[in-house]
């Protein structure tokens, strides 16, 4: 049981992150941006690997930089945002792979970054996740009204004098931090599904942003625990099991609604 204690705490903390940030990402149409950041974060991990530094702080700084670059390009460039996201997505990964190619270190640990390693999650990652959860929960509660108004009608929010750009950059920063801190749970490759599925279901079923966030936390926890149980029982990859449970639920609900 003691072997499972840290993974259980990780699932709980990751569910809070995914519930809050996922609901906001879905509401603000930032899911593909989250996917782009998750893959671009691999560049930070590769850079840390090349330099022989701890991956978490390097990946945080690298991903935040990429997020600000994306925000700048999306706002200023005439190019469609999905094209820009696709390019940065691939370039981040390519940079990470090249860094690892140039490094002579053994790259075995990088599989945990790509596909998750919940059972071997370091304690300091849990502390960082806990701090992030406390900060985003406080901010989401305090600014829930503005966050909803901005999601429904960003142009009106801007005209009304609300600092839309500052809040958008804040959201992007939170998304970047979440992506990096959740990478041990589901892995960078699968992370976008863990961020978006509970939020998408909760947004569909709720009448207020607050309730949607609570529901998304509950769904994330249910998916996480079910995935962990399946992974533990059948000796399978935990991240993939969590996403399989979440994805199957989402598809079943979506197909049921369309039938």
């Amino acid at each position: 049981m003691s072997l499972l204690l840290l993974p259980l705490i990780a699932v709980l903390l990751a569910s809070i992150t995914a519930g809050i940030v996922g609901t906001l990402a879905v509401s603000h149409r930032m899911v593909s941006l989250g996917g782009g950041l998750a893959h671009a974060a691999y560049g930070g991990v590769g850079l840390a690997f090349l330099l022989g530094w701890a991956p978490l702080p390097v990946a945080v700084v690298f991903t935040l930089g990429i997020a600000l670059l994306m925000a700048f390009l999306i706002e200023r460039s005439p190019e469609r945002s999905d094209t820009l996201i696709g390019v940065v997505w691939a370039m981040g990964m390519a940079f990470g792979i090249l860094c690892i190619d140039f490094s002579r270190n053994y790259a075995g640990d990088l599989m945990a970054v790509l596909f998750g390693s919940l059972l071997a999650i370091p304690r300091q990652d849990l502390v960082a996740l806990g701090v992030l959860d406390a900060v985003i929960a406080l901010c989401a509660w305090r600014f829930r009204r503005e966050l909803l108004a901005m999601a429904v009608d960003p142009e009106f929010a801007e005209v009304a004098g609300f600092p839309v750009r500052a809040f958008r950059i804040g959201l992007l920063s939170v998304l970047s931090l979440s992506v990096v801190l959740l990478m041990r749970v589901t892995g960078l490759v699968l992370l976008v599904a863990f961020l978006s599925i509970p939020g998408a279901l909760a947004v569909r079923w709720s009448r207020s942003l607050g309730r949607a966030i609570w529901m998304a936390i509950g769904l994330s926890l249910a998916f996480g625990l079910a995935g962990l149980a399946i992974s533990w029982t059948f000796d399978l990859s935990t991240g993939a099991c969590i996403i399989a449970v979440a994805g199957t639920t989402y598809l079943a609900v979506t197909l049921r609604n369309h039938s």
């Binding site: 005439p78 305090r142 009204r145 909803l148 108004a149 009608d153 009106f156 004098g161 207020s208 942003l209």
Partner: protein, 264 residues
């Protein structure tokens, strides 16, 4: 200071394409101005100029005696419903309450006064019984009335409405304009619409935007040639004691390649 807004020799466009070229438009405080014109003529661009969402390449824009950005707390804006994300976890009451955005520092719950004022305006536009409905459960007309209420809770001196009756039935259209008529005794409103019939029945002045210019401004009696110049096609005005309707010429044997179009 007696102008609600003043557009002087303004040229504006997007990515190298000029939409309005050296236009002037001045409107006094009080009353309703209707803006008509074909698609892409620049009606919404005029609103965006007044809202400070785009800056003129040349010329000057003044709103309520100051710059458009500084005037924003005193301006109410009703966008088209198409620009909204409706599939979100929010109710009609949440939408109307968001009208207070920017008037108070961000953060926290709405005050009792904000709830009361929101419900009062929802009652005045006839949608108070829908306050708990999700935005996705509202019809286009109900949502449009919600947007009008959201703009009015700000108690604006200038109200800018982009196609406010596009999805509304005749009854809702009447309700919106009756309300505008009532509140514009001491306020100013600018209404963008394709429907010159609805506008000419309900507003005091009409400006016609077309071909990069604002080609008419004044009464609701818009001359036919002005409309034809703006729309770039032959039109027919039918008066007969009724408000203006503009219809395309019927040319069953016309092979001249004239473009036809119409507004009713």
């Amino acid at each position: 200071m007696n102008s609600a807004f003043r557009i002087q020799q303004v040229t504006v466009g997007y990515r190298g394409h000029v939409v309005l070229h050296h236009v002037d438009l001045d409107f006094p405080r009080g009353g309703i101005l209707g803006l008509i014109g074909p698609n892409g003529a620049g009606k919404s661009t005029v609103l965006r100029l007044l809202l400070g969402l785009i800056a003129p390449q040349e010329g000057r824009v003044e709103v309520l005696g100051t710059s458009p950005t500084l005037a924003r707390p005193k301006v109410g804006y009703v966008p088209q419903t198409l620009s909204l994300s409706r599939d979100l976890p929010g109710t009609l009451l949440d939408l109307v309450l968001s009208g207070f955005l920017g008037l108070q520092p961000p953060g926290g719950s709405p005050s009792r006064e904000e709830y009361d004022r929101s419900r009062e305006w929802m009652g005045l536009v006839g949608i108070d019984h829908l306050e708990r409905r999700k935005l996705s459960e509202l019809s286009g007309g109900q949502l449009q009335l919600g947007l009008v209420a959201r703009a009015l809770v700000r108690q604006p001196d200038l109200l800018l409405l982009d196609e406010p009756t596009a999805n509304a039935d005749a009854r809702a259209q009447g309700a919106v304009f009756a309300l505008l008529d009532e509140i514009c005794r001491d306020r100013t409103a600018v209404v963008v619409s394709h429907d010159i019939g609805v506008l000419s029945r309900n507003v005091g002045s009409i400006a016609c935007v077309g071909a990069g210019k604002i080609v008419s401004h004044g009464s609701t009696e818009v001359p036919q040639e002005v409309i034809e110049e703006a729309y770039g096609c032959p039109v027919e005005l039918i008066g007969h004691g009724h408000p203006h309707r503009i219809l395309a010429h019927h040319h069953p044997h016309d092979d001249s390649g004239h473009r036809h179009g119409g507004v009713s």
